[in-house]
């Protein structure tokens, strides 16, 4: 008998470590988050187990098999699909009672089932133990395997049990029934007293109302009895139950509760959150800036080397320019803010895995309600400070399509990492003593614009008053798992590299052509290129904003490929040479001043950069997530318009201030 392949379906509650376990088997870098809704698609992977090919499918976290939400429908489909040979239900052993609720529903599906009790190491640490044998018998004899996804224990045994369960089924009578009569009788007993269709009536028939035979309350009671029968406390009963309130069934005053008294405090929660955020930003800017220096130096060395090589090969001038100003500049543009983005995403992943991120939804729920959004919208918004692309993708957390779109509306206003070089350059040149304050102000302005836009969209949509239907599980606080944090952050960085990286790189190339080709053929002087022609056409519009030079117009245009490109464009267009070279900034400042660019213009430019249309990569992500080209274009136009108005207002006001005008 050949070793046929087996398909294993992973199910379980959110936060139970299911995806960490899945990753441990497949080595994949899929997201793990404490937010229902982040994984709404199936993840797949495979591995060789004792010479047999095993396909693994990871389903979204669910609390029950009710077909009321997307996650549950997707999971049910996966299970009922004939291809799934065995189900592994990953359960948090610390929440045995709640987990068994789902286990029993899964049993009723009539497919081979294995229960994986995750976090068994924590159970033992807390002086408890679970009678595996008894639990298995109570559940009709299904294999119950203790594992620890983080410590990587029990993984072999689990896969052995799963494969064995799948194989055993195949040796059954072919009716599709589960193997042992004993196991099947557990399923049967659920519907013994029913006069309606059995819940999830097996492989044949269509599913009736799952409430038919057994009510949720009865199922919970049964789960409670099973759990109580199997949990053992080490040490004296008095010693262990001292802190437990039996009527509520929970440990009182645990670390999590004490921490929440501070972190989830109705009044202090918000300032503490802002403090933590400030710390994250500080890390991002300082460590990110530090790494960025190395990146730029490395890139400069690489560029020099390549150019020297090309020079030696006597390659023609325009190719050298293409490589240097097009390709290398493009790659530099992509990699330039990778350190910032990575650190920010690592920090956010750390907060997610610790359990704090869920608290943020609770803390900010009230504030977001004023813009008609749930507190859950904060995560995508926070990601927007790194890069708009992963932020747009993270909007999937919002269950409602309208809420998702309004969250997406907010993301481009968060000052992404790419805008930082623009901020740093111009505040450095025009407001050196106040640069931190100006940059901080820009960030705040972005947040306000985001909230304002979301609010306006909500009101304009004439929707009903906002209903606060936040329903969020707050997991226990735990020290984040390094592997999980890194893989979660990497997933987002990869989104950025794949989507943003390719778009930005291509856009830089296109830009190069626009800057070096003109109506009269090759244009060595940028002022004769297509870009310049376009710039001259646009410049008059920007005059009221103090940005009426064609070079500025072109530089802003180049920002459509990536905001960071605005910086290099300014250097190229104002003939200030290599920006890394000593004296580069002064030369640029001088060149700008000569063209009538004042402090007020700088402010206007900063505001314009903050608000206007996001880069092509972000636009692509937005189009993909909203599925509407019209909506995406509408957003682009809105932002352009808003940016223009604000830039004009800022310039007109600021130029009246002596010293700036």
């Amino acid at each position: 008998m050949g070793a046929e392949s087996v398909t294993v379906c992973f199910t379980g509650n959110p936060n139970c470590g299911k995806t960490t376990l899945f990753n441990a088997y497949t080595g994949a870098g899929k997201k793990t988050a404490n937010w229902p809704g982040v994984t709404v698609a199936l993840s797949e992977g495979s591995l060789m187990h004792r010479g047999r090919l095993v396909h693994l499918v990871d389903t979204p976290g669910i609390y029950s098999l009710d077909p009321y939400t997307m996650e549950e429908t997707v999971t049910r489909q996966c299970i009922r699909d004939q291809k799934a040979d065995v189900i592994i239900h990953v359960a948090d052993a610390l929440l045995l009672e709640r987990s068994l609720f789902l286990t029993m529903q899964l049993l009723a599906e009539g497919k081979p089932l294995v229960l994986a009790l995750n976090m068994m190491d924590l159970v033992r640490e807390r002086g408890m133990d679970i009678d595996i044998g008894r639990l298995s018998r109570l559940l009709g004899g299904i294999p119950v395997i203790p594992v620890s996804a983080r410590r990587r224990t029990g993984l072999e045994e689990l896969m052995d049990a799963a494969v064995e369960a799948a194989r055993a089924r195949r040796m059954a009578d072919g009716s599709g029934r589960f193997v042992s009569g004993a196991r099947y009788s557990v399923y049967r007993s659920h519907s013994a007293h029913s006069d309606g269709p059995a819940y999830g009536d097996g492989p044949s028939g269509s599913g009736g109302s799952w409430h038919g035979p057994v009510s949720a309350r009865e199922l919970h009671d049964r789960a409670r009895r099973f759990a109580a029968a199997c949990i053992r406390y080490r040490g004296s009963p008095a010693q262990n139950k001292r802190n437990t309130d039996p009527s509520v069934g929970r440990v009182l005053d645990s670390f999590t509760d004490r921490a929440d008294r501070l972190l989830a405090h109705p009044v202090w929660g918000i300032p503490i959150f802002f403090g933590i955020l400030a710390l994250v930003f500080f890390l991002t800017f300082s460590a990110g800036g530090f790494l960025r220096g190395y990146f730029e130096r490395g890139l400069a060395m690489l560029s020099a080397y390549i150019l020297e090589l090309l020079g030696r090969c006597r390659v023609s001038g325009w190719i050298i320019s293409l490589v240097s100003d097009g390709i290398l500049a493009g790659v530099g543009g992509v990699l330039g803010f990778l350190p910032n983005i990575s650190i920010l995403f690592l920090a956010l992943a750390f907060l997610e895995d610790s359990g704090y991120m869920a608290r943020i939804a609770w803390i900010m729920n009230g504030t977001m309600a004023s813009a008609g959004l749930s507190g859950k919208a904060v995560l995508p918004v926070l990601l927007g400070f790194g890069c708009t692309v992963p932020a747009v993708l993270a909007s999937r957390i919002l269950e409602n399509e309208k809420d998702r779109r309004r969250t997406i509306l907010m993301t481009p206003f968060m000052s992404c990492s790419a805008r930082l070089p623009v901020y740093v350059l111009f505040t450095g040149m025009f407001f050196p003593e106040a640069s931190a304050a100006v940059i901080g102000g820009l960030y705040v302005l972005g947040v306000l614009a985001a909230l304002g836009t979301a609010w306006a969209a909500w009101k304009a949509g004439r929707e009903e008053p906002y209903e606060d239907i936040l329903l969020m599980e707050l997991p226990e606080y735990r020290w984040p798992d390094l592997g999980t944090v890194v893989s979660c952050a990497w997933e987002r960085v990869r989104d950025y590299l794949e989507k943003a990286g390719t778009t930005i790189f291509l856009a830089s190339l296109v830009l190069w052509f626009f800057l070096h080709l003109g109506p009269q053929g090759a244009a060595w002087d940028v002022s004769e290129s297509f870009a310049a022609v376009l710039g001259r056409g646009l410049a008059p519009v920007l005059v009221p904003a103090g940005l009426g030079a064609w070079q500025t117009a072109v530089a802003l245009l180049t920002g459509l490929s990536a905001k960071e490109v605005v910086v290099s464009s300014f250097f190229i267009l104002y003939g200030a040479g290599n920006r890394g070279a000593g004296g580069g900034h002064e030369a640029l400042a001088a060149s700008l001043a000569a063209g009538g660019f004042t402090g007020a213009s700088a402010l206007a430019l900063l505001v314009f950069c903050l608000l206007y249309t996001p880069c092509a990569a972000a636009m692509g992500a937005i189009k993909q997530e909203t599925g509407s080209l019209r909506w995406t274009v509408g957003l682009a136009v809105y932002q352009l318009f808003l940016a223009w108005i604000c830039a004009v207002l800022v310039y007109q006001a600021a130029s009246r201030i002596p010293g700036l005008g």
Partner: protein, 78 residues
Amino acid sequence: MRLCDCAAGKLYMIRTVTAEETIVRRLEALGLVEGTKVHILMKKQDGSLIAAFQGTRLALGKKIAGAIEAEDCEEHGR
């Protein structure tokens, strides 16, 4: 009384949940059904709260808290 009118730090027993099907089911699946006793860990002025029971902690928005009828356990000597 409705859960949104309850006091933080006290124990309540759930009586009924009157809300849209999806929400009722989700609460049921989490274990919040008639007879469940919950500790109110935290409460905000607008009525939203954090309820804890059986090792689960749930943050509930104002509307959901308002849809849950519960009775004070201490008052009723349970």
